[in-house]
Amino acid sequence: MIVALQVLVIAALAPLVQGTMKRLRANLQGRPGPSPFQPYRDLAKLLNKEALLPQGVSPIPLVAPGIALGVALTFAALLPIVTPNLAGRVVDVVALAFLLGLGRFVLALAALDTRSAFAGMAASREMTFSSLVEPALLLALLGGAVLGKGTQLSSLLDAPFGLAGMLAFAAFFLVILAETARVPVEDQETHYELTMIHEGLTLEYSGWQLAMLQSAADIRQLCFFVVAAMLLPGGTAIWPHLAWILGLMGAVTLVETLFAKLRLFEVPQLLTIAFVLATTSIVLRVLGVLA
């Protein structure tokens, strides 16, 4: 029951996190920016609107937003925040990677079904980059398992934070930039369909379906921040991690302000760096040096 509360709180806070980052980015760029609460207004507006779908599609685009939201909510349920967390005990890091794959798979299929070239392009790029992200994501989160604490997310909490821990965090930070559609990989504020990846997948959605997708993206983003905060020192107490999450929001926004978007075929190099960092961290942990 208490896990349901955790999911509700994360789902409720997720749009605020997105709104705050948007405002912060605007301010850093010298613009006033929208209110941090704007995402809630957007969601409320979209929920009351009619949903449109392309003609002649299969049922996949109809159910895809629900599946994506369900994946995001499951992710939120796994996080070891409240103590008796059954879902978190059952689902480990490996299963989490497969779970994220489920949402992606359905959204990409739905995009191909819309017959739009832009959606197809986005599906292709999303599947490309996600397949390169997956090794880095998994290896960055296996630090606890190497230390013999199992593969559950909670094993990350009290891992020592030496050089290996820093490398794992650095790798995961790059993973976050790719998974939450941030600047070196893609620009959320673009209006140019040719560069869209996550936005491109949702190009044909509207109304309550779009609201579901946006909410799913916000929840996923917050969950990624929580996991990243778990890779940083702070033990099992909740307050240091909250501070880390705020710091991460600032850091990601800063990266978005300071750097330009990479060319599409330079993104794999960034992801390779993430993979190398994660591998090095695992090797250091296994060897037991500088861990």
Binding site: Q55, D92, G101, R115, A117, S124
Partner: protein, 622 residues
């Protein structure tokens, strides 16, 4: 009549295989000696028996033979079923063979009958060449298998597997390693492990779909069964490098197989490359089991072997599903070329959803069966990270990364396959008569396998508990299955399923309006859809160092240079193995041409050679 005979024969084989599986599962340790035929020479004794290790393979054979038989009632050429029945019977014989002579006879029967299946459409271009390549590899592999088994039989002084197994502990390490390498080449080439996989993407696609289902679904697994028998019984226990080598080969096969699948646009060849990938995943499991056993971690060995056997069964099920689905597509649309297919969802109303389940299962998405076994493989790799020495650790880290990459690439590939073949609009230049599929025998055959994908995915313990017993009796260890496995698929899938239901309910209550796709104001055409080539283009570019793509562009100019009438774009991958083989062949040929100098055709020179040889021979003999 021919079709009916074949279907009945296949059902009979299926019943027989199921009976063997049940008997094998009922035995507690050891083998039920069912019989021996003494030949003229004791070495040619034909012994057959049911062992616990063969039960998962027999069960798989029974399931797939049933499903393929049902599919054959409606589709495929009438003569196929009878040949497949014979092929299945040969495979069953391999699984129960317990002496060198019988094993080899059955193995050869399996190879030759499958060659007849491959050459079925011999009038088509390339089929006979593919069969030739297949036969060369099969016979080379069979030779290695025969030598390995003969070496073991000589060492033990008896040709029955029971006697060889009993003598295994006293083998010298050199002989043991020789046998392992020979078995790896012999069984590995049959199973499609890289780099000896090259016959597989040639042979599987040209066979009829029902035959491809059995080839990919069962025959590759029978080869892995042979490898298991040699490494875990006949030549056991092996040193740790066996396991490390298998994990490395498996990881290379997994990543390489899926990469080639990504750039392939022939549906059946693509599926064949995915067989290479999945056999690689199974080999990783076997490798971890071997390594863990030599390192003295029996619980990990048990877990890894369960993962390997579970993935064996799962891959058989969903690969047969996908091949049968591809067969239905080929019959309905007349092609398996991804660039010409599209929009079959509205037509194949039964096969398409089943095919989607197969795609999700092979990608390893929860809650389907591929997820459970891939998850177990990951668990065994992670468990083996610390405890096998430094070399093992590095290979395992690489294997984890490779397996993760494989998962991502497989997802990309099956999004491509399903999105291009079944979703969107048809890419045919000329429209054809569209008939809505009815629920017939072919849909039932595919649906049966789809149901199994769901059942084994949601309730993995139905398979894992019996497999744990098989492993316990094979390895004589208790396997430690992660306690979270029974709950895992349901936990992962509950909320996404609920979300999908919410969408359906919302759509029913509030309605969804269907409008034309927004394509920036231009008319929506089928040509504007993303194609399979376009979809895999980024990955083709990123992995150009492996795939070595070649592009050719041709412009047909219209009135001016700026307005081409047509642009033809072709891209092809070169295959690393083929390239190496070609270089090797040309080097051999060059050497042969050089050495032709000695063959001048002059009689006097040949006499001189003879005299020279004689002098050398006398000098040496003195």
């Amino acid at each position: 009549m021919l079709r009916l005979t074949g279907v009945v024969a296949m059902c009979l084989v299926a019943v027989l295989a199921a009976a063997v599986a049940v008997v094998g599962f009922r035995t507690h340790g050891g083998e039920i000696s069912a019989g021996t035929l003494q030949g003229v020479v004791p070495a040619l004794a034909l012994t057959w028996a049911v062992t616990p290790l063969s039960t998962p393979f027999c069960a798989l054979l029974a399931i797939l033979a049933t499903a393929v038989a049902i599919w054959c009632v409606r589709r495929g050429a009438p003569g196929d079923a009878l040949l497949i029945a014979a092929f299945s019977a040969a495979m069953l014989l391999v699984l129960v063979a317990r002496s060198v002579a019988l094993f080899f006879l059955a193995w050869e029967a399996m190879s030759l009958i499958s060659a007849f299946l491959v050459v079925t459409n011999h009038e088509r271009r390339g089929v006979r060449r593919a069969t030739f390549v297949y036969l060369v590899v099969a016979q080379t592999g069979a030779f290695c298998v025969l030598v390995a088994l003969a070496l073991l039989a000589f060492a033990a002084g008896d040709t029955s597997f029971a006697a060889i197994g009993a003598h295994a502990a006293r083998l010298s390490s050199g002989l043991r390693d020789t046998v392992f390498v020979l078995a790896l080449v012999g069984f590995g080439s049959k199973a499609g492990l890289m780099p000896l996989h090259f016959w597989l993407p040639r042979a599987h696609p040209v066979a009829p779909a029902s035959a491809s289902a059995m080839l990919s679904g069962v025959m590759l697994k029978v080869a892995l069964f042979g490898l298991l028998v040699v490494t875990f019984e006949l030549a056991a226990p092996g040193p740790s490098w066996w396991g490390i080598a298998l994990v490395a080969i498996g990881a290379v096969s997994a990543v390489g197989g899926v990469l080639y699948a990504l750039v392939d646009h022939d549906l059946k060849r693509l599926l064949a490359y995915h067989s290479v990938e999945n056999v690689g995943i199974i080999a990783i499991g076997i490798g971890v089991a071997l390594l863990a056993r030599s390192a003295g971690i029996p619980s990990l060995a048990g877990l890894a072997l369960i993962a390997a056997l579970f993935h064996t069964v799962n891959h058989g099920i969903f690969k047969a599903l996908l091949f049968l689905g591809a067969g239905t597509v080929a019959e309905v649309d007349g092609t398996v070329d991804l660039e010409r297919l599209g929009g079959l969802w509205g037509e194949l109303v039964w096969t398409a959803p089943f095919f989607l389940i197969g795609c999700a299962a092979i990608t390893g998405l929860p809650p389907f069966n591929g997820f459970a076994s891939e998850w177990l493989t990951f668990q065994s790799l992670i468990g083996g990270l610390s405890g096998g020495g430094l070399a093992a650790t590095f290979v395992f880290i690489a294997a984890i990364a490779g397996l993760a990459l494989t998962g991502g690439l497989a997802a990309a590939c099956f999004v491509k396959v399903f999105g291009v073949v079944f979703l969107g609009r048809s890419r045919r230049p000329s429209p054809r008569l569209v008939m809505r599929e009815r629920f017939d025998a072919s849909a039932l055959g595919v649906g049966l396998l789809a149901g199994l994908c769901i059942a084994l995915g949601v309730f993995p313990m139905f398979a894992v508990v019996p497999l744990a017993r098989v492993v316990m009796e094979t390895l004589v260890v208790t396997a430690l299955v992660p306690p979270s496995l029974p709950m895992l698929p349901a936990t992962l899938a509950a909320l996404p399923l609920a979300g999908a239901l919410v969408c359906v309910v919302m759509a029913a209550r509030r309605g969804v309006r269907h409008v034309p796709t927004w394509t920036c104001g231009s008319p929506v055409t089928a040509a504007a859809q993303y194609t399979a080539t376009a979809f895999s283009k980024p990955l083709r570019t990123i992995f150009a160092f492996v795939l070595m793509p070649e592009q050719r562009r041709r412009y047909e100019m219209g009135s001016s240079h700026w307005f081409p009438k047509r642009i033809l774009y072709r891209t092809e991958s070169r295959y690393l193995v083929d390239e190496v083989a070609r270089r090797l062949a040309s080097a051999v040929l060059r050497f042969a041409r050089r050495s032709r100098l000695v063959q001048s055709g002059s009689l006097r020179l040949y006499v001189a050679y003879s005299v020279g040889t004689l002098i050398v021979a006398i000098a040496l003999a003195r």
